[in-house]
């Protein structure tokens, strides 16, 4: 709590910058929402639970989009929740369309905007054939970049456009909301000769941007790494490279490495139990009275699973932003 930075800012600004105010506001808001129920089991208890869930990243489940995107922590939590909940879909090997992924997102956040999903799909599909099927991992990593760095990417798009049109972006960097602009392409003749922009120049602009950017942006060193491999690149090329970059994923910390994406033993165990139970549940409808033992056994198993679970999620650096 007593980090040296704290002294550099007035208290209020410090709290705001660290999104503490956001959570406090939200906590009070939630309290207001359910005051009858909460007052029954104690306001102190409520606050404890609230901040615990914020720490665990479960506070974003089924919340409205405005809250989910309010803080980087929320975004990372949402990404992680999405991964955990629908990893099985990817594991099953199903390729889905953008709309289906959107539906899955909406299961967690009912008012999740289609626009974001579309943009993420554009990264995977390189801006064309929006009805194509995508694998879960492709979509997830593209979505991570798009969702987590969405404001940053908008600024990048603007810079890219400026570079393309030959303006000096260092003078004017106005992160606009006109996200559609980046779809404009250079004229054909130009494109055939040189597609995209020069990587080094692009990097300079981005570095500049990262310094001044008030939203979260990928670590400049990693951006440099991405850009140093190529001479020229396009906007989507850049995004794809970002989404596939191992280090950025690690820096973000919400998702495991690509290799481990399908790997979540604790959850698998829990799921296995759920499946068994549902099977039993089905049969037990016929002879419920006969098998009291089965349920007792299962309950214990389930309990074990839950106890073990915190340890599975522990390695995640949730307190990273605190």
């Amino acid at each position: 709590m007593l980090s040296p930075e704290r002294l550099a800012l007035p208290d209020y600004e410090y709290l705001a910058q660290r999104h503490v105010l956001t959570y406090m506001e939200d906590a009070v808001c939630q309290l207001l929402e359910n005051k009858e129920d909460i007052s029954q089991y104690g306001i102190a208890r409520f606050f404890t639970e609230y901040f615990n869930s914020v720490c665990q990243g479960t506070h974003i489940l089924f919340r409205e989009f405005s809250f989910i995107q309010a803080t980087p922590h929320n975004r990372a939590s949402f990404l992680r929740a999405f991964w955990r909940c629908f990893r099985t879909v990817g594991k099953n090997g199903d390729l889905l369309t953008m709309r289906e992924y959107h539906c899955l997102l909406q299961l967690l956040c009912p008012d999740f905007p289609l626009e974001l999903t579309q943009k993420a799909a554009r990264i995977v599909l390189m801006d064309d054939a929006m009805d194509c099927l995508m694998s879960f991992s492709d979509f997830l990593f593209a979505f991570q970049i798009q969702f987590y760095y969405s404001e940053f990417l908008e600024s990048v798009a603007a810079i890219y456009q400026d570079l393309l049109s030959g303006k000096n972006p260092n003078t004017v960097i106005v992160p606009t909301s006109s996200s559609g602009q980046h779809r404009q392409r250079p004229t054909l003749g130009e494109a055939s000769v040189l597609e995209g922009v020069e990587a080094s120049l692009f990097y300079q602009c981005l570095e500049n941007l990262c310094d001044r950017h008030k939203y979260s942006c990928p670590p400049p060193a990693l951006v440099k790494e991405v850009l140093s491999n190529v001479q020229r690149l396009t906007f989507y090329g850049f995004l794809v490279a970002l989404s596939k970059h191992h280090g950025i994923n690690q820096a973000l910390g919400a998702l495991p490495d690509k290799g481990d994406l399908m790997h979540d033993p604790a959850m698998d165990e829990a799921l296995e139990r759920l499946v068994v139970r549902s099977r039993l549940h089905r049969t037990s409808r016929q002879h419920r009275a006969k098998e009291p033992g089965a349920f007792g056994f299962q309950r214990r198993e389930k309990l074990e699973a839950l106890e073990r679970e915190p340890s599975a999620s522990a390695p995640t650096p949730y307190s990273y932003w605190w």
Partner: protein, 790 residues
């Protein structure tokens, strides 16, 4: 007197001519001159009904005894012919004769009359007597003929020439000088007596003899010969009656000069085609029965023809009858007729005999209904006569009918027919009403579909950016909708037919929506139809309905009435959605609140969600507490359930075990809140036991609580909620801001104090030390204080 003969009932003309030849020439002549008034239809119909059986042998009742007295009747051959007698059927004959008695006006031309009326009689008579010299001896045949015509005696008495044989040997058939044809000559006596008639019956003639000097002949009889060709008679231009019954003629020919011919009898020959009748414009009776004619043709000019007999031919149908403006009787028995046309073009047709044909439907003879003159018809021996509806249908459609199948149509029958017809009329009206309703329904559904389209367009235009789902649909949807509407309608018609009455009862049509109860299905079209759930449904109906189908209704609107649906139709087990704008998986969450759903059908029409691979699994997962049996008609298997669990189980797990309790409360519906309060309390105290409690409380409840968090709020409501939240947030923000500012201020003061405090402390200590440094003076001071206080 009765003369049985071998002729079947189809040979009326033959029988007539037989009579004419054998029994009474006078009759035959009478036939020529008889005016129709003499055989009025009523008599005919009254008499001989019993004897009218068509199939029995020929019965001839010949009343010649009275003939002599009736000689006054003129033998008119004038142009009054339109009134020529028409009745030539055998049974009719019988009637004729019996009735003749009654009306007593039967004409039998007397010689005197003949000579007076037919002035030409004497003109062309041959001086010599009638001599017939047969090259072949035909005598044995006479015996036969006499058997067949036992009335011979009377013929003789009437001294008619008829049998060439009978009356002696006056007739000689001379092998003429001409190479092949015999020449016929009669004695002048004969000629004078019977100048206008000549009978060459059963003469074994193979060709027509040359008949010389008989230009005045009016009646010529070649019955029962072997003539193959009509020839050598072209000079007999006054011929009125020509009988060639039972010969071997293959073609109608050689008649073109016989312009006066009225009666042409060609029964029992080998004619294949009706032809060469162009000049016989005065023809009154044409008998072609027992030939091989396959179609009716070349008769349209016979505007004076009254009787046409085509029985026992090879006709397959009847048409081409126009122009036969005088035809009163048409005999078509024993053909292979399957349909009849054109009969309504016969203005005078009274009797039509269609017995023993191949008519099987009334439609194939429906033109008969349009004939105003038809009074007597027979259909016996046709397939149609076997039908149960035959009699009343015929009677109903032909009110003018007096006789059907030779039986008089009674009033009773007519009444019956009209009753039956009325019933049918009612039925028709009913079905018309049905189809009207159907049509109305169809229109309504179309209307609803149109509105739906419009609405969809609007929504898609508004929400295109916010909710891009409609980016492709506007272009496709309209046509799709049309198709679906039509097909839906067809389905409906099918079911309507099966359960007509119940469907009708439940049908209430308005312009913008449609509610229909058909058997166990409640169908709702258009959002207005949802209001019907507020209606008071009878317990019976409500209990019966197990299928509810929604079409052209926004799913979000349906969501809002689901609680009502649950209450009003406790049995609803099968839900159908079509054109309901199901676009998201989470929308299925809403269905979880129902009591029971066994089957779910989501039509891809207007429900894009069905295109998702995962939708079925999600439904199974989310609605697992229903133990659904079928989804979109496909049986749900255990594997499906497991798959669903595998795909989404974690979601449920996360939702139940990781959702912070305060949020769980707000997510769950009011109904569940209570149930969870106790749970939450325990959870608050002992976090470790939560899951156990959770499981416990889970089982009694129908729905898995770990799924309850997955709920659906209709978009409108959700937006409202978000607005509300926004308001609250604004307040919270201000509140927190104030608090935090206050807190930071306090903090600042506190920090400032902290900063000052050490210095202050030192100062205080120093002051105190300085004060107590001089002990004695300090003591003095203290003492003075004490004394001062006192």
């Amino acid at each position: 007197m009765v003369t049985p003969s071998g002729c079947s009932g189809d040979d009326p003309v033959r029988s007539l001519s037989l009579r004419g030849s054998g029994a009474s020439e006078a009759d035959a002549a009478g036939l020529l001159g008889r005016s129709p008034a003499m055989i009025p239809g009523k008599y005919r119909s009254v008499s001989g009904r019993a004897a009218s059986n068509v199939n029995c042998g020929l019965h001839l009742v010949i009343q010649t005894s009275s003939l002599p007295e009736k000689n006054k009747v003129e033998f008119k051959l004038s142009k009054e012919t339109p009134s020529f007698p028409g009745r030539l059927l055998q049974h009719d004959l019988e009637r004729n004769y019996s009735s003749r008695q009654g009306d007593g006006r039967v004409i039998s031309p007397s010689p005197r009359n003949k000579s007076s009326c037919v002035s030409s009689t004497t003109n062309g008579t041959e001086p010599c007597g009638l001599e017939m010299k047969t090259t072949t001896s035909s005598l044995p045949a006479f015996g036969d003929s006499s058997i067949q015509t036992p009335s011979k005696s009377r013929i003789r008495q009437g001294c008619h020439s008829a049998g060439p044989n009978v009356s002696g040997d006056h007739i000689n058939l001379v092998s003429s000088s001409m190479p092949s044809f015999p020449i016929l000559q009669r004695s002048s006596e004969e000629k004078i007596l019977y100048s206008d008639r000549l009978t060459l019956e059963r003469q074994k003639l193979t060709v027509c003899p040359v008949i010389d000097g008989e230009e005045h002949l009016r009646l010529l009889n070649f019955q029962h010969n072997f003539i193959t060709r009509i020839q050598n008679i072209s000079n007999l231009q006054r011929l009125i009656f020509l009988d060639l019954y039972d010969n071997q003629i293959e073609e109608i020919s050689g008649l073109s000069t016989l312009r006066s011919l009225r009666v042409l009898l060609l029964g029992k020959n080998r004619i294949k085609k009706i032809s060469n009748l162009e000049n016989l414009k005065n023809l009154d009776v044409l008998d072609l029965h027992g030939n091989q004619i396959t179609r009716i043709e070349n008769v349209n000019h016979l505007c004076d023809l009254r009787v046409l007999n085509l029985a026992r031919n090879l006709l397959s149908h009847v048409d081409n009858l126009n122009g036969l403006d005088s035809l009163t009787e048409l005999n078509l028995r024993h053909n292979q007729i399957t349909f009849v046309r054109d009969v309504d073009n016969l203005p005078c047709l009274q009797r039509l005999f269609l017995s023993f044909n191949n008519i099987s439907t009334f439609e194939s003879v429906c033109c008969l209904a349009d004939s105003a003159s038809l009074s007597d018809i027979t259909f016996d021996g046709n397939p149609i006569a076997q039908e149960s509806w035959y009699k009343h249908t015929v009677l109903q459609n032909m009110m003018q009918l007096r006789q059907l199948d030779m039986k008089r149509v009674t009033e009773e029958e007519r009444r019956m027919a009209s009753v039956v017809a009325k019933k049918e009329e009612e039925k028709k009206r009913e079905s018309q009403k049905q189809s009207l309703l159907k049509e109305k329904k169809r229109l309504t559904i179309n209307n609803v579909a149109r509105r739906w389209d419009l609405q969809q367009h609007r929504i898609s235009n508004i929400a295109a950016d916010q909710d891009g789902r409609d980016s492709d649909s506007p272009s496709q949807d309209p046509c799709q909708n049309d198709g679906s509407t039509v097909s839906a309608f067809q389905e409906e018609t099918g079911s309507l037919d099966s359960g007509l009455t119940s469907a009708l009862q439940g049908l209430s049509v308005t312009d913008t929506h449609l509610v229909e109860v058909d058997g166990d299905t409640l169908s709702l079209y258009g959002s207005g139809a949802l209001e019907c759930l507020d209606r008071n449904w009878s317990v019976q109906t409500a209990g019966m309905v197990t299928t509810v189908s929604f079409t052209f209704i926004e799913f979000d609107e349906i969501v809002q009435v689901l609680p009502k649906l649950k209450m009003k139709f406790p049995n609803s087990l099968h839900l159908k959605f079509k054109e309901t704008n199901l676009v998201m998986l989470q929308q299925f969450n809403a269905l979880a609140q129902l009591r029971r759903v066994h089957q779910l059908t989501v039509d891809p029409q207007g429900n894009p969600v069905v295109n998702f691979i995962l939708w079925k699994y999600y439904v199974l997962f989310r609605l697992s507490h229903f133990s659904m049996q079928k989804i979109n008609g496909t049986e749900v298997t255990q594997n499906d359930m497991i798959m669903a669990e595998r795909l989404f189980g974690i979601l449920a797990h996360v939702a139940s075990s990781e959702l912070p309790p305060y949020h769980l409360i707000s997510v769950l519906g009011d109904a569940r809140k209570k149930q969870f309060r106790c749970l939450l309390e325990t959870k608050g105290k002992k976090p470790g036991t939560v899951s156990e409690e959770n499981d416990d409380s889970k089982r009694p409840a129908g729905e898995n609580t770990n799924r309850a968090a997955l709920h659906y709020t209709a978009r409108d409501l959700y937006h409202e909620k978000l607005e509300e939240i926004k308001e609250k947030k604004k307040f919270c923000k201000m509140y927190i801001e104030d608090l935090v500012k206050e807190a930071t201020e306090i903090n600042m003061k506190n920090e400032a104090l902290q900063k000052l405090w050490p210095q202050m402390f030192i100062e205080l200590v120093r002051d105190a030390v300085i004060e107590v440094r001089n002990k004695s003076s300090y003591m003095k001071l203290c003492l003075r204080h004490i004394t001062d206080q006192k």
